[in-house]
């Protein structure tokens, strides 16, 4: 079964990709890479399962593409997405290049959920189904509040149809692909790990994370030479040297938190020629190493509103554009007292808007029944499940009592009717 599945995929991928023939012929994908169910191009995980599921049906971030995550307000949900993305890279043994942060950021990455870290011993063949099953069990044992979560459906073993109806429909499609995913990668590796925000990821000793600080004055050191070069040029130089030095099977992730935030960058670099040249060059690099490189960038939208031309150009230069619009914290507070029907569901913390998806919109957009583009999407960040994106549905109105009263009245009505009939 597995081999026949593989054979069918080989011609597709060699047709879709340009320069990975030797790899695809042997079917030895690098760790953390699997072919897209749509066209077989290699994808890697963003570290957030529900975000993987949103990317136009590719079930992962296609190699050679970039993702811009915009966020308004003062929250940092986008930062969490980046941390998951970086953590996933570290766990999979990818090179992670971070711009604008120092090593402290790397020490704050979320750690693996315990069951996973035990199971990722190299020889052991881990089936995703078994794996998420154990997580499910652990969570159930640990905290009683977590009910039939998304994971159970994601691995295709969701039982009741009623439960499926409650959870975003797109996971069903993912579920079909889910069990196949491990079988296509030769060693049965996990594609997307589960992380726990309360744990810290232990970095491997020869760390593959690289940090290029944005300011020219790195932590109390005086370095006269580097003050002239813009952080972008230094970062590009760094990327070029690492990409050209590493073997062609090594994967690289570019992480750029809070691009252009004045806390990190001087005002000069936010001139259009500086930032747009950088993004264009980054795009060129990503395309050049289109089987090795992905990037994720967050942008503070309050400082660079979408109504400006500069922001629009930054969006145009990236393959995917997502916008996080967190609810005001008061809204969360009021919604955190849910009605009886939403015990299992945590209240959404904000809306997610998709402005552009990699590959999908580059081709023209359309034919993406599974994209979720145009739907109302909400996200929830929780400690164990990470950032979960699902269809937004309004919770039962706060005045639930009114509805109950209505129900009661109805009951009364019924009762009187019955009385009359008698």
């Amino acid at each position: 079964m597995a081999s026949s599945f593989r054979k069918r995929h080989v011609p597709v991928r060699s047709g879709g990709l340009v320069s990975s023939e030797p790899k695809s012929a042997k079917q030895e994908l690098p760790k953390g890479v699997r072919p897209s169910p749509i066209d077989g191009r290699s994808t890697t995980s963003t570290g957030t399962r529900s975000l993987d599921g949103l990317l136009a049906g590719h079930a992962g971030l296609a190699l050679g593409t970039s993702l811009l995550v915009e966020e308004s307000g003062t929250t940092d949900f986008g930062g969490s997405l980046l941390r998951y993305y970086a953590s996933e890279g570290v766990v999979q043994g990818h090179h992670v290049h971070v711009l604008g942060m120092n090593e402290v950021w790397g020490r704050d990455l979320p750690g693996l959920v315990e069951a996973v870290s035990r199971k990722t011993a190299p020889v052991e063949v881990v089936n995703e189904r078994v794996l998420s099953g154990t997580i499910e069990g652990n969570e159930d044992a640990g905290s009683g509040t977590i009910g039939p979560g998304t994971k159970q459906v994601a691995d295709g073993s969701g039982s009741g149809a009623g439960e499926k109806m409650k959870i975003a429909w797109r996971y069903e499609r993912l579920g079909e692909f889910g069990p196949k995913g491990p079988s296509t990668s030769s060693s049965g590796e996990v594609f997307c790990h589960d992380f726990d925000l309360s744990k810290r990821l232990v970095l491997p000793s020869p760390s593959l994370m690289y940090f290029v600080p944005s300011t020219a004055k790195p932590d109390f050191e005086f370095r006269g030479g580097s003050t002239s070069a813009s952080p972008f040029n230094r970062f590009l130089d760094h990327l070029i040297t690492h990409l050209s030095a590493s073997p062609s099977t090594a994967l690289h992730r570019v992480v750029i938190p809070n691009l252009l935030s004045p806390a990190l960058y001087s005002s000069e670099v936010s001139r259009p020629e500086s930032i747009l040249q950088f993004l264009h060059a980054l795009r060129a690099l990503i395309r050049k190493y289109s089987t090795q490189l992905t990037a994720m960038i967050t942008l503070p939208l309050t400082l660079y509103p979408r109504s400006t031309g500069l922001t629009r150009w930054m969006e145009l230069l990236n393959d995917g554009v997502l916008e996080l619009a967190p609810f005001p914290s008061t809204a969360i507070a009021t919604k955190s007292t849910p009605g009886a029907s939403t015990v299992h569901e945590e209240p959404p913390q904000g809306m997610l808007k998709i402005h552009r998806l990699p590959i999908f919109h580059e081709k023209g957009g359309g034919g993406g029944e599974a994209s979720g583009h145009g739907d109302d999407l909400a996200f929830t960040l929780s400690r164990r499940k990470g950032l979960v994106i699902k269809l937004f549905s309004l919770p039962p109105v706060e005045g639930d009592s009114e509805a109950q009263q209505g129900g009661l009245e109805h009951d009364h009505g019924k009762a009187t009717k019955v009385d009359i009939e008698f």
Partner: protein
């Protein structure tokens, strides 16, 4: 689903008259790539040689792309049955890469006969494009169509010395060399309407300039009413000023229209009227 030229678009995609300028505008989420590919297809592969031009068969094409590399055009061209490499070897197609080397200094990416722009300066850009045009002219006579994908990037990222006026001048110089020119430019609302920062002003000026010069404009935008499963966006064809005055040839073919389009997952495109 037709993967070739949608019938409704055929009159617009046919070989444009001499010295014409066609503007394609796109917005975020409604990219013009598929339309550019249709232009490549209809220019390089003419269904019937007797259609418009007696010399139709040896039409040549120079594609300058500032946002996409050759791999993208090659892959998506292949889905249309368009083998760009074959045409390149026949000297009917040349690609000028404005992505790979424009702002990346140290990469020595010389890929065969492809031209790579290495500097955003006008002189260099103009020289490289002209060289590509001349390299096709060497062999024999034939109409050369120049397609420039996202010329506006040069304006946005190029720096101070590149202004809309200078860019317009460069464009005129290039148009002299080519039979016909097709430009694709972003026309997002923040880029053309706000006009506060120099970036926005320059962009608006460029788009306005070109759209007044253009023979016709094909603008892509998203549905005004939100997204739909079976519609990717709206295609509006606007006839420019110059056509209304003279040159009845093109006027007969071109009429103003607003159509819907849908790009399938396989790259095939359906174009249809509203309500169809």
């Amino acid at each position: 689903m037709s993967s070739r030229i949608p019938p409704l678009l055929e009159p617009y995609l046919a070989l444009p008259p001499e010295a014409s300028l066609i503007l394609l505008t796109s917005v975020l989420g409604a990219s013009s790539n598929w339309l550019v590919l249709r232009f490549l297809h209809s220019t390089l592969i003419r269904p019937e040689p007797l259609s418009v031009s007696p010399r139709g068969d040896d039409t040549k094409l120079v594609l300058v792309s500032f946002m996409r590399d050759f791999a993208f055009w090659k892959e998506n061209g292949r889905r249309l049955g368009l083998d760009l490499e074959k045409f390149a070897s026949k000297k009917r197609f040349a690609f000028v890469d404005g992505l790979t080397g424009l702002f990346l200094p140290k990469i020595s990416a010389v890929r065969g006969e492809e031209n790579v722009l290495c500097s955003p300066e006008f002189a260099t850009v103009s020289r490289e494009i002209q060289r590509a045009i001349h390299s096709l002219k060497d062999t024999d006579e034939g109409n050369i169509v120049l397609v420039i994908d996202q010329l506006d990037l040069l304006l946005a990222a190029g720096g101070d010395e590149i202004g809309a006026v200078n860019l317009g001048e460069m464009l005129i110089g290039l148009r002299e060399e080519a039979h016909s020119t097709i430009l694709s430019i972003s026309a997002d609302y923040p880029l053309v309407s706000t006009s506060q920062t120099p970036l926005e002003k320059d962009h608006a000026a460029l788009v306005l300039n070109i759209s007044h010069e253009a023979d016709f404009i094909m603008s892509l935008r998203l549905l005004d009413t939100g997204t739909a499963r079976d519609v990717s966006g709206v295609l509006r064809v606007t006839v420019g000023d110059s056509i209304e005055q003279g040159s009845q040839g093109i006027q007969r073919r071109i009429e103003e229209k607003e159509l819907l389009y849908f790009v399938g997952g396989d790259g095939g495109v359906k174009v249809f009227e509203r309500g169809q």
